[in-house]
Symmetry: C3
Subunit: 417 residues, 3 copies
């Protein structure tokens, strides 16, 4: 009897071998995808956008996460609000995806009209005795951390976002991300599972052969290397680079810029890592020649030599530099499709063509994102193949993938799988 | 253990609260969609077309309902026939979707050849002893009611179509729909569940804000309103309109035109409603200026002031006016896609450009159908959202939706769910 | 209680009536499709390509079968190899679909580098102690039979391929298919189940009405006919044709060309049939006028009058003629989509425009394949229709379909369904 019986998600989780990529089913099964969306995109904190997506009162920005649609808006009192984009009458979408400017939130279907704080102000034809007070738009838990908006769609959001908040509030302060603007944004649909997108971002083992533009300013060795894989010359260079870190980190911290790595990657609910990284070459920015793309620096920055404060979340990666920042948000669309939305931020008063050149600003991460999309697609296609067997992560350059896989399995188990 | 267990369809039906829109699963689950097609599009009478779709002997029209394909044709004896478009040999489709003219029904695969009444006339290579008599094309139960063709794909069609037949045979007689022609036809795919398409059609609460073209001739108040929602002026106008109905209905009926509302919307198998409605403004027709679009009136009509005989079925809506009629047929394509096929009928001898102007004829319902498609899509997207909770129907302007939901649940239960 | 319960695959198999087409579910159910791919495309020998797809050392050709991707390549020692296109690191696809030339197989993701025999030669960052010996690319069982490559994705390939090998090695020798080239290739996606594609190919009952180009050179009667279906003239012609077979076969065999039909269609694992068929008209080749398309004959052939050696497998059909060969490979894409990849082979030294005219070479099977795609789509649409009931195969012209259905059911049962 050779008939196949699909294993339970739990037994798939059991079958994962330490130090190895995940069993295929965790990358490609529909039921796992649905569980992933529920666990990682509803019950954990996710990055959904930026305060500067809605700079003025009445600005609204709609983001779609799975079947959820969230309205991020700025109320007349300048406060950020996040509500579900679902009318309390018959459920119609109120706003379209993307940006709009509103004075009230008016459902186009039957003109139910909500205040910007979500309260139902007007519902025609519902009778004088209709109780509007229980029909506010449903609110979403969120936090703005240094201008980055994190939301949690569950009623019971993980408490350990506090660590991220504490660390990043201080580190992001000099960049004043609240007072930036989105100079450019791209949506790239990767033909692969969201976990392959995240794995791809958490190692730079693939960088040297695939990301020529990024490698001008980014040091692939920062995320680990096997000294024996390197030529004697490369090994010497790597050792010098490591020594440089000790110096740089000490000097940056002495100047009041926290720089050392902080990570909360396993045995936690909220997954993050940050560190101030060295920028190669000209040392200023992730641009084709590693010099700053914008002459108007971010926030209170007066120096271009403060490296790259990288920040990982389980659905985002970020690079904060003296002249600009790059923020990528990852949204799973299906078991085999993942949206990567990338935003390039500059000082809100920087003027395109005067203070910054858009091509120079965006060149590196536009190219890198396209290259990564290709790699993720190859990786997903392979994981679908019946000939796929989980392979070994490098213990030098892929330890963060092993941690991610471990965290993934722990969190699934914690939510009953 | 937070793993989700999909509830049964039966418990979804149980969970519906009176006076509220349906639980999300009834709008978006695949298993519910399959049950819906089986119950409402196979085991109930549905409108599938018009006698004037096949005006001459040998005319055939193929319509697809789910995976079924039906051939409506006119036999040489001028009778309408409806047969399944499935060859009795190896199942090949015999005719393509849409219209064709045939002398016999010849399967293109192996030339099995059927008479227009479905009898197998010729089957090459099947041997001299092959019994052709049991290989006729499978017939479909149907009724032509005043020229509208209703079919039921089950062996046990509901008997209460008789009430519809009795009422509409008389009301449609003066329009002589059998002697019309299809002047124009559109297929619009709405990105929403068929029940949202039907709900949208059964209220005019959304009309004033969404259908400027329709509101010239159509009175949104006809399908209910909350007097307290109206300004004193609008309320006075509404009251005058209601008084006008009493007068008009009396006068029309005195002239021999049955006009009062007849409805069979709950506690029944066949769902319908008809009423002669007042046309606003110029009072003649659903056109941009409410004057007739065709100078050649339908049937035996000699007056343009006989309003709009509307007719609802659970997969159709119709408007019969002095100069033209509009017939819409609703065909579910998937849980989230619904075809709305609209036909504009004029007198069979009316000549385009002479007796009627096509743009004027079609303007209102082309615009209205596109607007409704947008609303249904918004509504469906919202019903998919985990933040959706069934909302309250207006007890003034959405009572027909509450009846539709009640009927829907009753019929599902009657068929074993 | 009218709710539908999907029957098991086993009960679907049980419900098939002898002499009739398959129950609908076997043509259109997802679970049956997955079982089909597993049983017929993994556990049986399938045709995957030709030696001449990779004529030179370093030539590689990637073919996708379901979620499997296979690299066919020619090693430096001129040997054919077939390996899974899945990197042993994290599973990435190594080569893209289609043809390429390689010196090593280098995974683009992290540069794991394999020899052409699949051995892992280099894996950076994996540590000095990493055991590469167990990380070769996974090999695929295959056989080249006269230049046709058959593969089996299971560890336990059926032994009775030996009969095919024995018969065809001798019959194909004079054509020397190893020394041909692919003059043209088409991929046609048929909108139907793969079994309908195969059924369509295994009868010529549909040819006379659908394949005018093919019928110039191909005799539809060769695959059976009902004498009583034919006119007296056609019957006489058919009888003359059968007499001609006796003569021709005797004469060809006397000249050393095995010609009689050999078939292994039921009670076997490997399904095939071969016979040397008469070419009509000018008698040379399947071209618009039945004369040879290429003046440079295949292999050691010196005569154009040796008919058409046809060969069927359960996922392929082939015609070997004096001047060229046509090889079609069938790959299921989904329950309702099937890829037919057709290759036209000529002598490797034949020059387009000099020795052969491409349009003349490809005309007949390009047209025939398009016509068959249309028929398969009609047939599949009909099999989806709830009104479909399995119909009777002709006992004259569809006996090979009955055998195919019988074999299909036997093989499913043998694999536990």
């Amino acid at each position: 009897m050779l008939q196949t019986f699909a294993s339970s998600i739990s037994s798939l989780l059991d079958s994962r071998a330490d130090g190895h990529s995940l069993p295929a089913g965790l990358y490609n099964r529909e039921d796992v995808f649905e569980a992933d969306v529920d666990v990682f995109f509803r019950k954990h904190w996710i990055c959904i956008g930026l305060e500067c997506d809605v700079p003025e009162p009445g600005d609204a920005n709609v983001i779609e996460i799975g079947n959820s649609s969230l309205i991020i808006l700025r109320d007349d009192d300048n406060q950020i609000r996040v509500v579900h984009n679902v009318c309390r009458h018959r459920g119609s979408r109120i706003l379209d995806a993307g940006s709009s400017v509103v004075s009230k939130l008016v459902c186009p279907y039957h003109q139910w009209t909500y205040e910007l704080d979500g309260e139902l102000a007007y519902a025609p034809h519902m009778g004088a005795d209709f109780d509007k007070s229980c029909k506010s738009l449903r609110p979403v838990s969120f936090k703005s951390i240094g201008g980055l908006i994190y939301a949690c769609l569950s009623d019971n959001p993980p408490a350990d976002i506090e660590h991220l908040e504490e660390v990043m509030t201080e580190r992001l302060a000099p960049y004043d991300i609240r007072n930036t603007k989105v100079a450019f944004q791209t949506d790239v649909v990767e033909h692969g599972n969201w976990k392959l997108t995240m794995e791809n971002n958490r190692e730079c083992y693939h960088c040297s052969a695939n990301h020529p533009e990024l490698c001008v300013s980014f040091v692939d060795l920062d995320f680990g290397f096997d000294p024996e894989s390197l030529s004697p010359e490369d090994r010497e260079q790597a050792e010098q680079h490591q020594a440089l870190y000790a110096d740089k980190t000490k000097s940056w911290e002495a100047d009041g810029y926290p720089s050392a790595a902080v990570e909360q990657l396993v045995d936690c609910e909220t997954n993050f890592r940050t560190q101030r990284l060295i920028i190669s070459g000209a040392g200023e920015s992730q641009t084709p020649d590693a010099t700053a793309a914008s002459s108007k620096l971010l926030g209170t920055m007066t120096r271009k030599d403060l490296g790259d404060t990288h920040l990982w979340g389980h659905n985002s990666w970020n690079h904060f530099m003296g002249d600009h920042a790059v923020v990528a948000i990852v949204i799973p669309l299906s078991a085999d499709k993942t949206l990567v939305r990338t935003k390039w931020l500059v000082h809100k008063d920087a003027v395109e063509g005067v203070d910054y050149d858009l091509e120079k600003l965006t060149n590196v991460w536009v190219a890198t994102t396209d290259q990564d999309a290709e790699l993720v697609a190859r990786s997903h296609a392979g994981a679908l193949d019946p000939a796929y067997v989980p392979g070994p992560y490098s213990r030098f350059s892929e330890t963060n993938l092993d941690k991610f896989a471990t965290w993934y399995i722990d969190r699934m188990r914690a939510h009953g799988y």
